[in-house]
Every structure is written in C-alpha cells, then in structure tokens.
Symmetry: C2
Subunit: 245 residues, 2 copies
Amino acid sequence: MTTDSANQEDSRDGGGEAAADDFEDYADLGATTENAMDIAETSMDRVRELVPDETLADRIRQKSVHATGDPEFQHLVRFTGVDDDEPVRAGARAVLDTAPVVTDITMVKAGITGRGHDCPVRKAIGNGADLAAETGMTRTAASVLELDREGVYDGSIAVVGNAPTAALALADCIEDGTRPAVVVATPVGFVKAAESRKRLREVAADHGVPAITNVGRRGGSGLAAGLTNELIHVASDAREGAVDL
Amino acid sequence: MTTDSANQEDSRDGGGEAAADDFEDYADLGATTENAMDIAETSMDRVRELVPDETLADRIRQKSVHATGDPEFQHLVRFTGVDDDEPVRAGARAVLDTAPVVTDITMVKAGITGRGHDCPVRKAIGNGADLAAETGMTRTAASVLELDREGVYDGSIAVVGNAPTAALALADCIEDGTRPAVVVATPVGFVKAAESRKRLREVAADHGVPAITNVGRRGGSGLAAGLTNELIHVASDAREGAVDL
C-alpha cells in the first residue's frame, strides 16, 4: 500500500558519507527515480482523474484508490455519519485537537505519517496479555479491551487495519459507552473481516460515532494507515484555510 | 493486509493486571473473537479452496490471496527463475541460512514475523540521506544504493513493498553485480510501480536472481510482508521435514 510511511522515517539515522561522485554509474537514476514528492503528486493526479474530487469524503475515496492501486476500490468505502463527510470532518478536527491515534498493530502504527500533526500515535497490541491468556480471546481483542479500560479510546482516532477481532472488540466498547472521535477500520481477510466492519458500522450508527470502513474482504494495514494519513492531510489543509471543516 | 505481524509483537510490554472477572460484560466476546490461530487457520483453509495447493509457488499464490483478501490476486503473481518454485526454494533456503531480510520501509519491516527464523531484519530507509540530498533522488532509492555499497544486499532476502524507486534502484544494483538470494517486490501505485517490477523481473532473469513480484498497479507493504512470511513458513516446514527444498 502506498502510505506516507516513508515521510516519517528519520533520515538522520544512518546516512553515511556517500558522495554523489561515488555514484556516477547511477547518473541515470535521477531520471528514472525522480523526486518522491513528484511521484506522489503525479500519482494523486492520476487518481483524481478516476475519482470525483468534490467532497471531503471524495478525498478518502481517492486515498483508498491511491493506497490499493485499484480504481474500483472507491466504491467499497463506507462512511457512517449524518452525511458522508462527517467522519472526515470529525477525523480532521480530532487531528487538529491532537487526539491520540490508536492503531491495532505495529504495522499500522509504522504507516502513520509523522508530519502535519502533533497527535500521539500508539498501538494496542502488547496490552492485555493477561486478559488474553485468561479468557482465550485473541491478543488483539484483549489489547483493545485493556486500552479501553484505561480510557484510551474515548476521543481517539481509533484505527483497525489488520485484526477483525480488534474491530469486534472496539464495537463492543462503543456499545458499552466508549466514544472515539472517529473510527477507521479496514481489516482484511476471509474470516470475520467483512462481518467485523459491518458490526462496527451498525454500532457506530446506533451511537453516533463517525466511522470510515469498507465492504468486502479486501482492506489491510496499508489502507488503514493511508486513510488515517488523509485525515491528517485534510486537517493540514484546514489549518491553512484551504478547506472548511 | 493480513500478515503475521501480530505474532512478532512482544506481549510482555504493557499487559496490566486485568482479571477475567472484570470483563464479565464481554463474556460473549470469546464466542465472537475466537482464537487468532483458529481464525488464521480457517482463513487459509478457505484460501486453499480457491487456489491450487500443489507446488511451492502455489503457497505464495495462496498467501497473496490471503494477504489481499482477493481470490483473483493469485493470477497476478510472477515467479522469476528456472521454474516457478525456484524463488520460493531460494527464499526458504536463505531463511534457513539466516540471511538478512532487508525491507525498503519501516512498515514492511514491522510486518515480518518474529517467529520461525533467526534472520536479522533491517530496513533500508534512513540510510543514504546525504546521497539523496546531493543527487535529488528519492530517499528510498538512495537508501538502497547506500546499503548496497555496504554489501548488505548480496545474499539477502531483498524486500520492496512500497517504493517503486527502491525497486528501480535494486534493479540497478543487480545489473551492477549484486546478487540477493531472492527478491520479493510488490510496490503499489499509479506511477512506476508496475514498471519498476517489470524492470526487476527483466534484470533478475538476465542475472539469475530468483524473484517474486506481481503485475498490475496493486501490491503494497502488507503483501510484501505476507509473501516474505510465507518464505519463512516454507523454511519452517522444510526444517521439520514436511517439504523438500
């Protein structure tokens, strides 16, 4: 998945002393690789030829296409809220409020851009190990329940990219009174992935929690990170007065 | 993407003192979340109904379907070698030889399972910052060239999940004499992603480097991590005598 994960890399570690002269053999590489920003821009330009560019929700649809490399994915994204733009507005506002971003697994956390926001980013996995051992539930589900017990999910940007059981646990938390600022959930796979997103949509709608999800078996960590990064981009644009929330 | 990233999580950090009794409200969760291993098994069982299960290459095809949630993805995977199984054999042997796994970005590294192997896992990004600044090439391309200069890619399991320019740089390195044990490359997107994989296939074929790639615009970090994890699983099966390499 294309995300902005590269942007968050600390280019200061490593580095070395390589002089450009050492790489005359790769003189052609400048032409073949271009600047990453140029590639990203060109890529989004192509996406905008394939996806409408009118609403805030369209930006999420565009990002879904960018992240999956599939123009058809725009039709698989679902928005839970008073209108399709609401979860995007809610997500961008949460970014402006420096709400915590809470991901299910490390891979999603690694894909969240480090630029354009001051939100703390944390992962659920690694918490709730005792609960998982005691109950036999999955470690990802237990990790969500444990963080929820600590109040972490209230007001958060809650992101599930990998684990259907994390999405199901998050739905239970919402049903029990937890109110994330926004939910982004795109777990992938053949067992419970689509069902877990459907349940999240139903619970989110019942309790007024804005949510961005997708239908079908596809999805994944890269998509979840990409959509969350787009909420950050919308927030950046709002900060600069380029969009109204 | 479904990977085994959850497996590598250190369940010892966090954890807390949660007692099962505190979660009587979630008594139904055991039924709805099951055990993660059960879900993974059931998921792969469903995949095996959709993808042939005869060759080592079929295991990679299966994993591509598992990782993308899309049965059609099996037809998009390409194997470069004397036969389709060669890159899988080469990758599994490299795992048994504890060859380093070198990923392009952090997100792919985060998706590589911590179980079933003793391979060091490192990322390229973060290296070659000076080279990028001096030449204007992308940081991911510069990071690959810098690590290659240090001899890191020879004999490695070279994985590119995100950046087309990293794949193009890796192709240049191979053309210049570098010999990874195997290449896994699935960068995603609308600009240079498919082209970069095509060039890698051509260079790999010319120089006898086994490679696993895909055609089309789709792909991504989760897929690359998933396919690499399958090489690790094949190696585990070989270690136990369940498959011959």
